[in-house]
C-alpha cells in the first residue's frame, strides 16, 4: 500500500514537472514567435516555414520527455530565432542577400508563352503549372499575359487586358474614396489603438456614438471612415 502511495505521488510530481515545463516553453515559444513577426502560414518564405516548424519541433521534445534538459532546447530555440531575425533584417537591407536567402520571383509565362526553361529551373512540370493556374481560377491559357512564381511558392497571374475585370476607371467613373473603415468600438469598448489609426480622437468617437443615441456599452460594433460613422450595430439588434 505504501509502495502504491509513493508511486502515485511520484507520478503526480512528474505531471507537475511537465506542467511547469510546458508553461515555460509556451511562454518562450510565444515570445519568440512574436519576435519573429507576423506572417500567415501561406505567406511564409521557405526559410521561415522551416524555422517555424523547427521551433515547434524543438519545443515539443523537452515537453514530451522530462529527462531532457530544457536548457538544451532553449539555447537551440534562441539561436534559431536570432539567426532568422538577423537574416530577415539583412534581407531588408540588401537585395543581394534577399535574393540569396529568399530566391527571386520567376516568370513562367511571358506574353502568353510558357517559358519551359524557367519551369525546368524550378523543377516543375507543366502539370504543376496548370494546377497552380487552376487554383487561381484560370482555366484558359490563352487569357494569360504573365504568370510569375513568387518566392513563397504562390503563383501570380496577369491576364491579358481584354480578360481582366473592368473597373470604375475603365468607364471614366471616379467615385469618392472614403478610405478604410475602422472598427473603433467593439463589444461596448472603445479600442484606443484603432481610434489612433483612424485619425479620429477619443472625444470625437464618443461624440459620434452619442449622435447615434446609443450608449457606448450598448454598441456591438461601430466603424468609422473619413465621412464619420460608416456602420453601427447595437448589441440587442442581434438578440
Amino acid at each position: 500500500m505504501k509502495i502504491f502511495a509513493e508511486t502515485k505521488y511520484e507520478g503526480a510530481d512528474d505531471m507537475a514537472v511537465t506542467l511547469v515545463r510546458a508553461t515555460i516553453l509556451y511562454i518562450i515559444v510565444i515570445f519568440l514567435i512574436r519576435l519573429m513577426g507576423k506572417r500567415q502560414i501561406g505567406e511564409l518564405q521557405p526559410s521561415e516555414l522551416v524555422i517555424t516548424m523547427l521551433v515547434s519541433e524543438i519545443a515539443s521534445i523537452p515537453m514530451q520527455d522530462n529527462s531532457i534538459p530544457i536548457l538544451n532546447s532553449v539555447v537551440a530555440l534562441f539561436v534559431l530565432v536570432a539567426f532568422e531575425i538577423i537574416s530577415s533584417v539583412l534581407s531588408l537591407k540588401s537585395h543581394k542577400i534577399r535574393s540569396y536567402i529568399q530566391g527571386h520571383p520567376v516568370i513562367v509565362i511571358r506574353n502568353g508563352i510558357i517559358d519551359y526553361k524557367a519551369l525546368k529551373k524550378l523543377r516543375m512540370t507543366v502539370n504543376d503549372l496548370v494546377s497552380a493556374l487552376r487554383q487561381k481560377d484560370v482555366f484558359d491559357f490563352s487569357q494569360i499575359s504573365y504568370a510569375i512564381f513568387e518566392t513563397n511558392g504562390k503563383i501570380s497571374v496577369l491576364l491579358k487586358s481584354e480578360f481582366r475585370n473592368s473597373t470604375a476607371a475603365d468607364v471614366n467613373s471616379y467615385p469618392k474614396d472614403k478610405g478604410m473603415q475602422f472598427a473603433v468600438i467593439c463589444d461596448g469598448e472603445i479600442i484606443e489603438d484603432v481610434v489612433r489609426d483612424s485619425g479620429y480622437d477619443l472625444s470625437a468617437v464618443k461624440k459620434l456614438a452619442l449622435t447615434n443615441r446609443i450608449p457606448i456599452e450598448k454598441i456591438l460594433i461601430m466603424s468609422v471612415d473619413s465621412d464619420g460613422v460608416a456602420y453601427i450595430a447595437r448589441k440587442d439588434d442581434n438578440g
Binding site: I70, L71, V74, F78, V79, A82, S88
Partner: protein, 126 residues
C-alpha cells in the same frame, strides 16, 4: 533595429547559458575527479573511519550537485557516476578497499569520458 537588438540579446543569452552550464559542469567534474583521486591516494594510509568520512562527504556533495548536473547535461554517464559515488561508503564498510579503489578508478575514467563527450570539439559537433 529593435528586432536586430533582440536577436543579438537572444544570441548573447544562448552563449551565456552555454558558458555558465559548461563552467558548472567542468567545475563539478574537476571536483569529483580530484576527490576520487584523493580517495585512492589516501586509501593506502588512512583508517577506515577517515575513508568513510571522505566517501560520505563526496556522496553528500554529489546529492547537492546531481540535480543541476542532470538539468544541464543529457548523458547516461551522469547517473552511472552517481551510482558509483553513492556506492563508495557501502564498499568501504562491507567489501574492502580494493573494491573501493576499483570503483573510484572506474568513476574517474567515467568523468574523463563525460568531459570529452561534453567538450566543444569537431567530433562532438559532427
Amino acid at each position: 533595429m529593435k528586432r536586430l537588438a533582440a536577436a543579438f540579446v537572444l544570441i548573447a543569452a544562448a552563449v551565456a547559458i552555454t558558458v555558465c552550464t559548461g563552467y558548472f559542469f567542468n567545475r563539478e567534474m574537476d571536483f569529483f575527479e580530484k576527490s576520487l583521486s584523493r580517495l585512492v591516494d589516501i586509501s593506502a594510509v588512512s583508517t577506515d573511519e577517515a575513508l568513510l568520512d571522505e566517501a560520505k562527504r563526496l556522496e553528500r556533495r554529489w546529492s547537492e550537485a546531481s540535480g543541476l548536473l542532470r538539468s544541464v547535461v543529457l548523458h547516461e554517464g551522469i547517473d552511472e557516476l552517481g551510482r558509483s559515488v553513492s556506492s563508495l561508503p557501502r564498499l568501504i564498510e562491507y567489501s574492502g578497499r580494493e573494491e573501493m579503489i576499483t570503483e573510484c578508478i572506474e568513476a574517474i575514467n567515467l568523468i574523463k569520458n563525460l568531459k570529452s563527450c561534453e567538450k566543444l570539439s569537431l567530433e562532438n559537433v559532427l
